[in-house]
Symmetry: C2
Subunit: 351 residues, 2 copies
């Protein structure tokens, strides 16, 4: 769903910079293009957009008679605990092989590097990036907001959360997202593009079911552990998920406030919970084959939430927790139309 | 021993580029300096020279009244099997902490990245590097030379190696080292510096004892395994170490032939085998404390040669092999003055 937006951003980057932009390196005749994938993880998705980037630019160069392809720098960022070794040993060779297969002997130089660190701080040299992409990472806050003690047995914003909790979450999002934009505004060169997809919401209300329900059901699973005596109430009350799923207007507001980027596209998309297949890729067909949707969604959520849960509740309750979660998810998904909402924003760095 | 050469190269890079050089980014007022550590490994040595680089440049900037420090890009390269995760999780935080401690609040931005791949190919974007360093990596060839079947039970160039074997090794070194220089000549900007230290030799003869003896003793250890029936003769005869330890004039010849770099310094240094302490750092005092020199040198050689030996002879003989090696080393080191010879070359990329 976001592919056309990514393709448009890359195409505009190249086409616009070939004509008017003074600071874009292609326009200057420089020989290299640099992209960053923020929150790259280590798996089959790590290099998907990088592959598109190289392919689209190469095809555009051929189409417009540029014999000499630029060199590509692909900077892969995630937190220092990410498995960069796997990227370098397994996914980088497939990336190069795929480009060689698709572009043949005209495949350009692609220099991969791993960049460890939080994207809520500076990661790259000033004015060094032409294109930035991030998918499903920016809804993660830099930390759990302060002043959310009143959230009791909720683990995220919920219908029963007091207003002060919702405000604390929103203000943390504002701080983090504006920090993110300020850092990237240093690093992206004038005319450069940035496409971000994050979990978000349609409603203006941050306690809307569309964004909170998935966590409310995990809270239910935790309460089952509580009633079984497997975790303590104090532990449950002190656990909160460091995430915020903004609306289109909240994203728009922060971008305008920070002021360094112009928004080209800002759009919502929806994807059924059931589209989370077991192999980590989204495949709506997968659930048709009798595979349990609850199992797949629980596994998908486990892959993102397990480190936080283990750190707070310990390793020993995790299997039981996700067994509870799977059963609750299966039940609700059979009765309700459950969807994730995505916000995608495509921006240009002002000159 | 190489520290003064590194310090001089960095100082000249900054001082020369501030005055005359047109293509150096400091002279242009650009804000970032980029260095690459080639064959960085993952350990306490990985960031030693990077730390020096940042400190020396920062001190020079302060001394000359430049209020605004440049940003630093530190690119850490090694083969894809290197443990980049450990660098990012353990050594990168200490690096940042040390700079903060030594430079205080004026510590500049340092952006670390991991760059997987062989330095006998392109690794970085064109004209992107100001400073390149490599230590104890470039004596490793890209592969065992072809046409060394006549080397029999030798595993490296030895006094009994036929002339054709020595030629095959030397030609492989020439191909590899010139490929290395050609790749770096694309990547280092005009006026940029490169300091390389590699195992080498004083003598013009490639079968000189100073460079071959350490491997001849490993070959002796392998022959003990052969006599014990633990390895097969065919296996021993087909094993050769992909290394070449050049003389000063051989290094000089390749640099001049390639033509992109001017040599500023080219010098030999010697270090006793016994200086290989157990912790991977060189400490001449270490051997005074009754620790067995043979044990330390065997351990040091095991850390570099084990992967090659395991691949060829299998895991099961390795402990016995290095036990043999340790005993042989202890015996010889008590009777002879055994030293490694290092070649260090400091170069400037021509404009």
């Amino acid at each position: 769903m976001t592919k056309p937006i990514i393709e448009a951003a890359i195409t505009e980057l190249i086409m616009c910079s070939s004509s008017s932009s003074s600071s874009s390196s292609m326009a200057r005749g420089a020989k290299s293009l640099c992209m960053a994938e923020l929150g790259c993880s280590s798996g089959p998705n790590t290099l998907i957009v990088a592959t598109e980037f190289v392919k689209i630019v190469s095809q555009l160069c051929h189409k417009h008679g540029h014999d000499q392809l630029p060199e590509f720098q692909i900077q892969l960022n995630d937190l220092p605990g990410n498995d960069f070794n796997s990227i370098f040993k397994s996914f980088a060779p497939s990336f190069h092989a795929q480009l060689l297969q698709e572009l043949g002997s005209s495949a350009p130089y692609c220099f991969l590097s791993g960049v460890p660190g939080s994207f809520y701080g500076r990661l790259f040299a000033a004015k060094s990036l032409h294109f930035v992409h991030s998918s499903y990472s920016l809804m993660w806050l830099s930390k759990v907001p302060e002043r959310v003690e009143m959230n009791k047995e909720n683990i995220y914003i919920a219908s029963t959360s007091p207003e002060s909790v919702i405000t604390a979450y929103y203000e943390q999002f504002q701080r983090d997202f504006s920090t993110f934009l300020r850092c990237r505004s240093e690093e992206v060169m004038g005319g450069g593009r940035m496409v971000l997809t994050l979990l978000g919401r349609k409603s203006e209300s941050a306690s809307s079911k569309e964004c909170c329900y998935i966590w409310e059901l995990l809270a239910l699973s935790l309460k089952e552990l509580l009633s079984q005596g497997l975790i303590e109430e104090e532990k449950l009350c002190s656990f909160n998920i460091p995430q915020y799923t903004p609306s289109l207007s909240e994203v728009n507001t922060e971008v305008e406030k920070e002021g360094s980027f112009t928004i080209n596209r800002l759009q919502l998309s929806e994807i059924a919970w059931a589209a989370c297949s077991g192999n980590g890729l989204c495949s709506p067909e997968y659930s048709k084959n009798g595979v349990d949707d609850g199992y797949n969604v629980a596994k998908c959520m486990r892959s993102v939430a397990e480190p936080l849960l283990v750190e707070h509740f310990g390793e020993s309750v995790i299997d039981q927790l996700f067994e509870n979660y799977r059963n609750i998810l299966s039940d609700r998904m059979s009765k309700e139309d459950t969807k994730f909402v995505n916000v995608t924003v495509s921006m240009t760095k002002k000159e």
